[in-house]
Amino acid sequence: MAGQEAVIVTRNLTKHYGSITAVQDLNLEIREGEIFGLLGPNGAGKTTTILMLLGLTEPTSGQALVKGLDATRHPLEVKRIVGYLPDNVGFYDDLTARENLLYTAGLNLIPPAEAEKRVALSLDQVGLSNYAHRKVKEFSRGMRQRLGIADVMVKDPAIIILDEPTLGIDPEGVREMLALIVRLAREGGKTVLLSSHLLHQVQQICDRVGIFVGGRLLAAGPVALLGHQVMAGKPLEIELQAEPDNDNLFSALRSLQGVTAVERHGAFIRVRCAAGRDIRPELTPYLAGKGFTLLYLRARGYDLDDIYREYFQGEGYHGTMAG
C-alpha cells in the first residue's frame, strides 16, 4: 500500500517571525502513498510548515524538499505537483463553482477541453455536479470545503496538502470529507499530508501522525506506537467504575498490592500502579471477592485521547511529565 520512498522531507526546518519561533528544527519524512496527519493545537506552526513546503514562505534556516526539489528554490515545480487546500478555503463569490475551478485549471495550463472534462469529473466526485452552475456565494461551509477538494483534484497532483480540512463542518460532512480523502489516497495513489487539531476526527484515516506543539515535532509514528512512546516509563493508570461506589471501595483498592494511589475523577476512579506493575489480572477476582461489581475498566495512556491530553493541554503538564 504505502511505498517506502520519502516524497516530503524537511531538514532542520526553522522559521522565526521576529522574536517568535513558529517552527523549530523540524525533521519530517512523509512516504509515498501514505496519509500523514500533522496534529497539534492552534498556533503550533502547522500552517507555517505547510506554507514552507509550498515555497510560499521562506524558512529562516533548514530545507524543505518535495520529491527532491527544494521548495524555496523551485517553488513553481513544487506547486505543479502539490495540491493545496488552505485552512478555511475561499472562492470568488461572484463566479460559479465551475468557473472557479476552470480558473484553477487555467493557472495550471490545462488545455480548455481537458479542463472542462476534469472540472466535471471533480465536481461529480465531491457530489457537487448539481451545483456546478451556481454562484459560490450560495454555498454552505461544507460545500465550500468539498469544492476545495474538487479544486485540488482538478490539478491532479501527486501530493495533496490539506490544512484543517474538517474544521467547521457538521459531523456528517466530516465523515464524507474523510471518506473522500481516503478515496483520493487509496484509489488515486496520492500522498496526503493533512493538518488538524481535531485528533478524534483524523486518527481514523491517518497511517501515521506527528504531534506538533509549540513549533516542535514531539513524536511521530502510527497512532498505536505513539501511545507506547508517550507512556513509556510511566506507571500504568487504570480508570474504573464499580458498584457499590463507596468509601469501602476506596480502602479496598488502596490495600491491594501494587497500588500507589487512588483518586476520584468525575464518575471514574483512577488507580495508579507501582512502576512496572499491572494489577488488571488480579483486580476482577479481588473486587468480586470483596463484594464489588466491576462496571468499567480501562488502561489509560494507550489511545489518542490520552496522547492528546498529554501533549496538548497546557504547558504546565509538560513539567510534571518530564519530572
Partner: protein
C-alpha cells in the same frame, strides 16, 4: 551582426518559454479583465463619467455654435473639449476630476479583497510566479481604463463632428490622441495608488477611503497648501520688490507641481489649447512685441515634456512600491 541577431532570437525564445511555463499572467489578466468589465461599480462609474463628459461637451458645442464666426476660427474642434458653457465646467475639467475615481475604483480591493475572500493563498499555491498576480491585475485595470477613455474620447469627437460639422485637422487629431494617452497615464497613476493601498490596508473600506482622501487632497487642497507654504517662506507684502513676487509665484507653482493632478492639468491644457505658450509666470516686458499665435504640436509637446516624464515616473514609482510590498508580503491564511 549575425551573432547579435542570434542572441536576440535566443533571448526571445527564452522569454516566450518563461511566459509559457508560467502562463499565470495571461490567465490572471483574462479573469481580472472579465471581473472588471462585469462589476457593478465599474458600470456605475463609467456611466457617471460618460454622462458628465458628454453633458459638458454638449453644452460646449452649443456655445460654440452660438458664437460661431465671432472669434478665432482656429482649432474649433479642440475647443469642444476646453470650452465651458454656462454652468458646466469643460470636458477636460470633468475628466481631470473624475478620472482618478475610475482608477481608484478598479484597484482599491485588488489584493486585500483576495485576502479577505481567502482566495490569495489558494491562488498563490498554483504554479504561477507571484508577480503574475499583481502584474495581471494592474494590466487588466490599465486595459479597461484605456478602453473607457479611448471610447469616451472618440465618442465625444464623433458627436462633435455631427454637432458642429467642422472636420478636425490632422494636428487636432494628433493633439486629441496625445491628450487621451496622457489621460490614460494619469488614471493609471491612480490605479497604482489604489493597488498600493490595497496592500497596505487589510480592510477594503480603509483602502478605498485612503485613496479618496489622497485624491481629494491632490485635486482640491494641494494648490491651496502650495500657496500657503510659498507665502510662509517668501511673504509678499503690497510694496514687495518685483523679484520677490516672481520668486513667490515660481515657488508656489513648483510646489503645486508635486501634485500629479497639477501636472496633468497643465499638460492637458497645453495640449488642447495651442494658444498656451508658457506655463510659468510671464513678465510684461516678455510680451512686448510678441506676435499672438498658436504653438505647433511639437513645441507644445516640448513645453509639457517634463510633465509627461513626471507623470510616468510617478506611476512607475508607485507601482514599483506596490510590487515590492506584494513580493515581500507574508502569505498567512489567517
Amino acid at each position: 551582426m549575425a551573432r547579435w541577431q542570434a542572441k536576440l532570437k535566443d533571448w526571445l525564445d527564452w522569454f516566450r518559454q518563461q511566459e509559457w511555463f508560467s502562463g499565470g499572467l495571461k490567465t490572471v489578466f483574462q479573469k481580472e479583465l472579465a471581473d472588471n468589465l462585469s462589476s457593478t461599480r465599474f458600470t456605475i462609474l463609467v456611466f457617471l463619467v460618460a454622462v458628465a463628459g458628454i453633458g459638458a461637451f454638449y453644452v460646449a458645442a452649443q456655445s460654440i455654435r452660438q458664437t460661431a464666426g465671432e472669434g478665432d476660427p482656429q482649432f474649433v474642434f479642440l475647443r469642444l473639449f476646453t470650452t465651458s458653457g454656462g454652468s458646466l465646467p469643460p470636458f477636460i475639467t470633468f475628466i481631470s476630476f473624475l478620472g482618478p475615481l475610475l482608477g481608484l475604483a478598479l484597484g482599491f480591493d485588488a489584493i486585500n479583497g483576495e485576502h479577505n475572500k481567502r482566495t490569495l493563498s489558494r491562488l498563490l499555491a498554483q504554479p504561477i510566479y507571484r508577480d503574475d498576480v499583481i502584474n495581471g491585475k494592474f494590466l487588466a485595470g490599465l486595459v479597461v481604463l484605456a478602453l473607457v477613455i479611448m471610447a469616451l474620447g472618440l465618442l465625444v469627437a464623433g458627436l462633435g463632428l455631427l454637432l458642429i460639422g467642422v472636420p478636425p485637422t490632422g494636428e487636432e487629431i494628433g493633439r486629441l490622441f496625445i491628450y487621451l494617452l496622457v489621460t490614460i497615464i494619469y488614471v493609471a497613476f491612480w490605479l497604482s495608488v489604489s493597488l498600493l493601498f490595497s496592500l497596505l490596508f487589510r480592510q477594503t473600506a480603509t483602502s478605498a477611503l485612503a485613496g479618496i482622501a489622497v485624491w481629494l487632497f491632490f485635486a482640491l487642497f494641494a494648490g491651496m497648501l502650495a500657496g500657503l507654504i510659498a507665502d510662509g517662506l517668501l511673504p509678499v507684502s503690497e510694496d514687495a520688490a518685483p523679484a520677490r513676487v516672481l520668486h513667490n509665484a515660481t515657488l508656489k507653482q513648483n510646489l503645486s507641481r508635486l501634485s500629479t493632478t497639477t501636472l496633468y492639468d497643465e499638460a492637458t491644457v497645453t495640449l488642447l489649447n495651442p494658444g498656451v505658450r508658457t506655463l510659468g509666470p510671464v513678465l510684461v516686458e516678455q510680451l512686448e512685441g510678441a506676435i499672438p499665435g498658436s504653438l505647433p504640436l511639437d513645441q507644445s509637446l516640448l513645453l509639457i515634456w517634463p510633465h509627461l516624464v513626471g507623470l510616468i515616473a510617478a506611476t512607475m514609482l508607485i507601482f514599483a512600491l506596490a510590487y515590492y510590498f506584494f513580493m515581500r508580503q507574508e502569505i498567512r491564511a489567517g
